[in-house]
């Protein structure tokens, strides 16, 4: 799959990488839309280059063994754990089930990916 890695600048490069696997309490999501936040360029100024996207809107591709709330094909939005691998700037992303939620039928992927972290401005100096 394709994944965007954000480095200082921001300078972004796209890489071909394997599709990640969810652990027992996680969900693998095919990303339809990714949101963005100011921290997505701020964090890579201070840390190693990484996939800094955290706002996921998409379709569940696979779930871990402990996940009962979601199944393949569910329309969801999720907040990816910041600074952990497999963020939202990719074709597939990983989120914890507890920060994943179902989309009402009338809610589009476009609109919901503005809601997850809600413009988080965090940056660590």
């Amino acid at each position: 799959m394709k994944e965007a890695i954000v480095a200082k600048g921001p300078k972004v490069t796209i890489h071909d990488v394997p599709v990640p696997k969810p652990n027992a309490d996680q969900v693998l999501i095919k990303v339809i839309y990714s949101g963005s936040n100011p921290k997505d360029w701020k964090r890579p100024q201070l840390s190693d280059p990484h996939n800094s996207g955290d706002d996921i809107a998409g379709v569940v591709e696979a779930v871990g063994d402990n996940v009962v709330e979601f199944k393949k094909g569910d329309r969801v939005a999720a907040f990816h754990e910041m600074m952990s691998p497999h963020g939202s700037f990719a074709e597939y992303a990983i989120a914890w089930a507890y920060t994943t939620f179902h989309l009402p039928k009338k809610t589009t992927f476009e609109e919901v990916c503005t809601c997850d972290t809600c413009g988080d401005q965090n940056v660590y100096f």
Binding site: V12, D55, A77, L103, E110, D120, Q121, F125
Partner: protein, 231 residues
């Protein structure tokens, strides 16, 4: 979610399922950004009013989020610090309240918390969104906290008061509950998306989108990327 953490976990305001009927003035500093706008929407669900919203370029956007008949008002920060302080005081007076004890500072720079400090009454609470900054200008009688959305992925620190008390529940449970409430709020219609702009090119557009965020090109919009458009 940043807005929810700030309002409910840090400021301790009543959640939407326990909305208040007591006038509860709240300053939202930076009302047109995503954090501020979602703070207004959630505060509305909690019936927290009057909302005194400090905003700049995107006032017409903020106007649609507030309820003036409950005392809500917008104060323009572009007119300078003194005008912001007097504007907040005037708005409180017009709303028929004499004091404000809560502030959500979704800007946390450009003199925002200094201005807020001039109007918050004892006992005051302010929550701020930029960690690691020097907030020593905020007087002692105002309780300050940092709102970090990453807290929904964290356990209580072992050396924190809660950690020492053996409390296991906290940020993760808050995240679990509130993300599900978002789902319901979207269905019911009281929780709505932020305006957005699709940056062309899918992943190839990420660099442009993030650069525009850095350069402050956007006002009251979120940049999003359609992954399928990646070539």
């Amino acid at each position: 979610m940043t807005a929810a953490v700030g309002l409910y976990q840090r400021l301790g305001l009543p959640e939407p399922w326990n909305a208040t009927t007591t006038p509860t003035p709240l300053i939202v500093y930076g009302g047109s950004g995503a954090v501020g706008a979602f703070a207004i929407k959630l505060a509305q669900a909690s019936n927290i009013h009057p909302l005194i919203v400090v905003a700049g370029r995107a006032q017409s956007f903020v106007e649609k989020l507030i309820t003036p008949c409950k005392g809500d008002a917008i104060v323009d920060y572009r007119k300078g610090n003194e005008a912001v302080v007097s504007g907040i005081k005037d708005a409180l007076k017009k709303a028929g309240v004499s004091e404000v004890h809560y502030a959500f500072d979704a800007v946390s720079e450009h003199n925002s918390f200094q201005n807020i400090s001039k109007v918050l009454s004892k006992p005051g609470k302010i929550t701020l969104v930029l960690p690691g900054k020097n907030y020593s200008d905020i007087p002692e009688y105002i309780e300050k906290s940092n709102t970090m959305v990453g807290s929904v992925h964290m356990d209580n620190a072992p050396d924190s008061a809660k950690g020492k008390a053996g409390i296991k529940t906290g940020g993760k449970d808050f995240g679990f509950a509130f993300f599900r409430l978002f789902s319901r709020g979207l269905q019911e219609g009281w929780f709505t998306a932020h305006p957005y702009e699709v940056v062309p090119g899918g992943l190839a557009g990420v660099e442009k989108g993030l650069s525009d965020l850095k350069n402050g090109v956007n006002s009251a919009t979120k940049y999003i990327f359609k992954i399928e458009d990646t070539k």
